[in-house]
C-alpha cells in the first residue's frame, strides 16, 4: 500500500452571498503518483487547489488538510511552499522583462545579507534548466521565449523550491501538441527520477487518461468519483459521463446537409508582416475562400499565424505592410479599418475574451451593443428600450446564464462570456463570422451549445471560419479544412479527407520541406 502524501477531508468553502464553491470535497493523493482533477468550469477545481496552497488561509474554509502525516494549517502560499507544495497557475506568473535565471529565483534569491550572488544563481539555474530540458541561456529575457518554454521555466522555478507536490492548473491549455507532449513527459520523468507527486487540472482528457494514475472527478463542488488506473475503465467518455452526470453520445452536433452556396469571401495572396519584429513574415501569400452556408476550419499549431491572418483581415487590426486582395461576393473590397470590415459584413470573435473581447466592468447589455450602437441610436442618442430588448432577446436565444442583462460580464463564467461575444457579433449580422478559438477554456456543455450556434449560423447561409488548436474540434465542426503552418496554407482537406493524421501529415511535411 503506497503512502498517502496528501489527504483533504470534507473541505467546505463558501464565498460571500452563500455561494458554496466546495461542498465536502475529499481527495487522497498517494506519494509518487500523478493525480488528475477534472470537472467542468466552475466545478471547484481551482478553488480546491487554492485552499490547499494557502491562497485561502486556514479558517476561511472548513475541513482538514493532512500532508505528509500531519495536519496542516496554511495561512499563506509561503507556508505551503515551505512544505514543498508548489502550484503553477494557468496564467503564468513570470515577469516578461526579467531573465530566465531571475525568474527562477524570484522571491527565493540566492543571497546573503540582501545581496544577490549571481554566480551561484547562474550555476543553479543552469542545473535546473538542464533538468527540465531547456537549452537556452539563463540570461535570456523570458518574453523572448515561447509559451512552451515559459511553462518549463515555471517548473524549474518549482524545482528550485524543493517541490514534493507539484500542482499544475491547465498546464497545456496554451501549448501546441508538441510542447504538450514534452511537458507531460517531463512530469513523468520528474516522478521517476525525483519522486515528485503531481496533481494536474486539465480539460484535455486524452492527456489525463494517458499520464495519470488516478482521476478524481469534481462536479458542482462535490467529489463525484475517483477512477484508478488498472482498476476502473478509463476512457474519455467514461470521464465525461462523470463530469456532466450523464453519458455523452455525441460531442459534436451533426452537420446537417445544408446547401452550400456561392463564394462569399475570397482572399488572394494575403501577406502580413509582424508589427514588432521588422521584416518578419507572419502570413505568407495565403489564398483561400469560403462559401455561403459553409463552415471552414483553419487548423494549425500555436504560432502558425492563424490569429494574425484573421486579425489582419479584420480591418488591418494586426500587422504591417499588409498586401493582397479581398473579394466579397465577387467584388474587391478595401478594409483599412475595423469599421470597414464590419460594414463589409465581416465579424471577428477574438480568442482573447478578457483582453480583447469584453469590457469586463460593463454589463451584458453594453457589451452586446458595443459595435452596433449607432444602429440602436437616433441622432447619437441611444434608444435604451431597443437596446434592452435586443440584449434580452439574445440572452435568451444563446442561453446566456446570468441573473439579467445588467450583470457585469466580468462576473460570468468563460462559457457565458464567450456567448456574450457571439451575441454581440451575431446581432451585428455579418455575412462572414471568424471565430478564433471559440471554445478555449470553457466546459463541455457550453462547447456543445457553441457548436450548435455555429451550425445554426451556417444553416442561415452565413459563412463561418473556425480557428482552433484542438484538432478534434476543427474536424468535428468544419465542412472543409485549411491547414496552416509557419504563415502558409499547407493543405486543404475536405470533410472526408480530414483526420487528425492527415492534418498532422500536412504540417509535418511542410515543416520538413522548409528544413530542406
Amino acid at each position: 500500500m503506497p503512502k498517502v502524501l496528501l489527504e483533504m477531508k470534507d473541505i467546505v468553502k463558501e464565498f460571500p452571498g452563500n455561494v458554496r464553491a466546495l461542498d465536502r470535497v475529499n481527495i487522497q493523493v498517494e506519494e509518487g503518483s500523478i493525480h488528475a482533477l477534472v470537472g467542468e468550469n466552475g466545478a471547484g477545481k481551482s478553488t480546491l487547489m487554492n485552499v490547499l496552497s494557502g491562497i485561502y488561509p486556514y479558517g476561511s474554509y472548513e475541513g482538514e488538510i493532512c500532508y505528509d502525516g500531519e495536519e496542516c494549517r496554511f495561512n499563506t502560499i509561503r507556508d505551503s511552499e515551505r512544505k514543498g507544495i508548489v502550484i503553477i497557475h494557468q496564467e503564468l506568473a513570470l515577469i516578461p522583462y526579467l531573465s530566465v535565471m531571475e525568474n527562477i529565483f524570484l522571491g527565493n534569491e540566492k543571497q546573503s545579507h540582501g545581496i544577490i550572488n549571481w554566480e551561484v544563481c547562474r550555476a543553479e539555474a543552469m542545473k535546473l534548466m538542464q533538468r527540465v530540458g531547456l537549452d537556452d541561456l539563463p540570461d535570456v529575457p523570458v518574453n523572448k521565449l515561447g509559451v512552451g518554454k515559459q511553462q518549463l521555466i515555471e517548473i524549474a522555478k518549482a524545482l528550485s523550491k524543493d517541490v514534493r507536490l507539484l500542482i499544475l492548473d491547465e498546464p497545456t491549455a496554451s501549448l501546441n501538441d508538441d510542447d504538450s507532449e514534452k511537458l507531460l513527459n517531463l512530469i513523468l520523468e520528474l516522478r521517476e527520477k525525483m519522486g515528485v507527486t503531481a496533481i494536474i487540472i486539465s480539460h484535455k482528457l486524452n492527456e489525463v487518461t494517458r499520464i495519470s494514475d488516478k482521476i478524481t472527478v469534481i462536479r458542482d463542488g462535490r467529489t463525484i468519483e475517483t477512477l484508478v488506473k488498472g482498476v476502473d475503465e478509463i476512457t474519455e467518455d467514461r470521464i465525461i459521463k462523470g463530469m456532466v452526470g450523464r453519458e455523452i453520445t455525441n460531442r459534436y452536433p451533426p452537420r446537417e446537409d445544408t446547401p452550400i452556396g456561392s463564394t462569399c469571401l475570397e482572399i488572394k495572396d494575403w501577406t502580413v508582416y509582424s508589427p514588432y519584429v521588422a521584416g518578419k513574415l507572419m502570413v505568407d501569400h495565403v489564398s483561400f475562400h469560403v462559401k455561403k452556408g459553409e463552415v471552414v476550419g483553419i487548423a494549425g499549431l500555436m504560432g502558425a499565424g492563424r490569429t494574425e491572418l484573421a486579425m489582419s483581415l479584420f480591418g488591418k487590426a494586426y500587422g504591417r505592410n499588409i498586401s493582397g486582395q479581398v473579394f466579397k461576393d465577387g467584388k474587391e473590397v478595401r478594409l483599412n479599418c475595423v469599421a470597414d470590415a464590419i460594414n463589409s459584413g465581416i465579424a471577428y470573435v477574438t480568442e482573447d475574451r478578457k483582453g480583447q473581447g469584453l469590457v469586463l466592468m460593463e454589463s451584458i447589455r453594453e457589451n452586446i451593443s458595443l459595435p452596433t450602437l449607432s444602429r440602436l441610436a437616433t441622432r447619437g442618442v441611444i434608444n435604451a428600450h431597443k437596446e434592452v430588448k435586443v440584449a434580452e432577446d439574445y440572452m435568451q436565444r444563446l442561453h446566456i446564464k446570468a441573473p439579467g442583462i445588467f450583470q457585469k460580464t466580468g462576473n460570468l463564467s468563460g462559457g457565458n462570456q464567450q456567448k456574450v461575444m457571439l451575441a454581440r457579433w451575431i446581432y451585428a449580422d455579418p455575412d462572414v463570422l471568424i471565430l478564433d478559438e471559440p471554445t478555449r477554456g470553457i466546459d463541455v456543455g457550453a462547447k456543445y451549445e457553441i457548436y450548435c450556434i455555429i451550425n445554426e449560423l451556417a444553416k442561415k447561409g452565413k459563412s463561418v471560419i473556425v480557428i482552433s488548436s484542438e484538432l478534434p474540434e476543427v474536424l468535428g465542426v468544419s465542412d472543409r479544412i485549411y491547414v496552416m503552418n509557419e504563415g502558409r496554407f499547407v493543405g486543404e482537406l475536405s470533410r472526408e479527407e480530414a483526420s487528425q493524421e492527415s492534418v498532422m501529415r500536412c504540417i509535418m511535411e511542410s515543416s520538413d520541406s522548409q528544413a530542406v
Binding site: V244, G355, H399
Partner: protein, 405 residues
C-alpha cells in the same frame, strides 16, 4: 442531445445564489453611489455647527458656488479624460493663458467682449486639439503631453502678459461670473424670479424621475418601490425649493450657477445616453475590445481632449471675470483640484468608471472644506493637509468597497 438540459438545470440552482449576490451588489453600489453625497452633507453640517451658522448662510452659499464654479467646470471636462484612462495636468496653465488672451484682446486691444469670448473658446478648442493630437495619434502618454502643456501654456501666459497683471475688465465681461438673476432687467421686474425658477426646476426633475421610472418598468428593468420614488421626488422638490428660497434671501440665483447647471445636465446626458458617451466608457474599460468593435478609439480620445480644452477655456473666462484681472499666476494648481474632484467623486484611476455628478459632488466636498476652514480662520497650510487626507481617504474607501465584493 447531451448536457444542455443538465447545464440549464445546474444553472437554475446557481440562479438563486447569484440573485442574492446581485441584491447585495446593488446595495453596495448604491452605498458607493451616495457615500460621497452623504459625506458632503455631513461635512456641511459639521462646519455649519463650527462656524456658528455662517457656512450655510445665503450669502456664503452664493460665495461658495461662485468661488468653486471654475473648478467644477474643469472637473466636468476632466472626468471624460479620466474615464478614458488619461489625465490632463495642463488645465491650470490653460486657464491662465485664456485669461491672459482675453485680457490682451479686450483691455489692451479694445476688442468687443463677444468677439473676444468667441476667440478664447476657439483657442481653447485649438489647445485641446494640440494635446489630443499628441495623446491620441502619436500615442505619447497623456501624463507627459499635459505635463509639457502645463509648462508651455504657463510660459505662454507670461510671454503674453510680459509679467504684468491686466485689469480691469469691462462690466459686461464680468457679468456671468459676478452677477445674479435679479441683475438682469427682465428678471428684476418679476418678483420671486429665483423661486419661480426653483419651481420649474423641481417640476422638470420630478418629471424626469417619473419618466425614467415608467420607462424602467416598461422595459422590465428592476426598480425600487413606488414609496422610494415618492420619497426621492419629495426630496428633490424640497431641495429645489429650499435652495432657491435660500439663495433668494441674498441676491438670488447666481448666473454662474445657471451655466453650471446647464453644463452638468448636458454632459451627464452625453455620458449616459449617447453613443459617444458609451464609447468613452468602453474605451476606458477595454481599449482593445473597443477598437475591435470597429470604434475609432483614436478619435474618441482626441475629441475628449478637445472638449477638455474647451472647458478649460470656459473656466479661464469665468475665473478672469470673477477676479476682474488677468494675472500670470492665475490658475495655479487648478488641475490638481479638478482631478481630485473626479477621484473623490468615485472615478477610477484606471478608467472606465466615474460620473459627472460624482465629480461635481467631489468638487463641492473640497470647496466646502476650503470655505469652512477659511471661515474658521484655519491657515492655508492646514487646509492643504486636510484636503490631501480627504482625497486619500475617499479613494481608499472606494478601493476598499470594491475589494470587498
Amino acid at each position: 442531445m447531451m448536457s444542455m438540459e443538465k447545464a440549464v438545470q445546474s444553472n437554475g440552482q446557481n440562479d438563486t445564489t447569484m440573485k442574492s449576490l446581485m441584491n447585495k451588489g446593488t446595495f453596495s453600489t448604491a452605498m458607493q453611489k451616495y457615500a460621497m453625497f452623504i459625506a458632503l452633507i455631513l461635512i456641511a453640517i459639521f462646519f455649519q455647527v463650527l462656524t456658528d451658522g455662517v457656512l450655510l448662510a445665503p450669502m456664503n452659499i452664493s460665495k461658495l458656488i461662485m468661488q468653486n464654479s471654475y473648478i467644477l467646470i474643469l472637473a466636468i471636462g476632466m472626468l471624460p479624460c479620466i474615464l478614458t484612462g488619461d489625465i490632463d495636468l495642463s488645465v491650470g496653465s490653460v486657464v491662465a493663458a485664456i485669461g491672459a488672451i482675453a485680457g490682451t484682446l479686450i483691455i489692451s486691444k479694445g476688442m468687443s467682449v463677444g468677439a473676444a469670448v468667441i476667440a478664447c473658446l476657439a483657442i481653447g478648442l485649438l489647445i485641446g486639439a494640440w494635446q489630443g493630437f499628441w495623446v491620441a495619434f502619436v500615442r505619447v502618454p497623456a501624463f507627459i503631453v499635459t505635463l509639457a502643456g502645463m509648462l508651455i501654456f504657463r510660459g505662454l501666459t507670461m510671454v503674453i502678459l510680459d509679467g504684468n497683471t491686466l485689469s480691469p475688465f469691462p462690466d459686461s465681461y464680468q457679468f456671468v461670473a459676478q452677477k445674479f438673476l435679479q441683475d438682469i432687467p427682465l428678471f428684476a421686474s418679476i418678483p420671486y424670479s429665483t423661486m419661480i425658477i426653483g419651481v420649474i426646476l423641481a417640476a422638470v426633475c420630478v418629471w424626469l424621475e417619473v419618466h425614467a421610472y415608467r420607462q424602467k418598468v416598461q422595459y422590465g428593468i428592476p426598480v425600487g418601490s413606488k414609496g422610494t420614488l415618492l420619497v426621492k421626488n419629495a426630496l428633490i422638490v424640497f431641495v429645489c425649493l429650499f435652495a432657491t428660497y435660500w439663495l433668494s434671501q441674498f441676491k438670488g440665483l447666481p448666473l454662474i450657477l445657471i451655466l453650471l447647471a446647464f453644463l452638468i445636465a448636458v454632459y451627464s446626458f452625453i455620458c449616459n445616453k449617447t453613443v459617444f458617451g458609451r464609447r468613452v466608457y468602453a474605451l476606458g474599460g477595454n481599449e482593445n475590445a473597443t477598437r475591435l468593435s470597429g470604434i475609432k478609439t483614436k478619435w474618441v480620445r482626441f475629441i475628449v481632449f478637445v472638449n477638455m480644452g474647451l472647458m478649460a477655456a470656459v473656466a479661464g473666462l469665468v475665473f478672469s471675470a470673477r477676479l476682474n484681472c488677468a494675472a500670470p499666476s492665475a490658475g495655479l494648481m487648478f488641475e490638481l483640484d479638478a482631478i481630485a474632484a473626479c477621484y473623490i467623486g468615485g472615478a477610477s484611476a484606471t478608467g472606465g468608471i466615474g460620473t459627472i455628478v460624482g465629480a461635481i459632488v467631489g468638487g463641492l466636498v473640497m470647496g466646502t472644506l476650503n470655505n469652512g476652514m477659511s471661515i474658521m480662520g484655519i491657515g492655508i497650510d492646514w487646509q492643504q493637509m486636510i484636503k490631501g487626507l480627504v482625497l486619500l481617504a475617499a479613494v481608499a474607501f472606494d478601493i476598499y468597497n470594491q475589494s470587498k465584493k
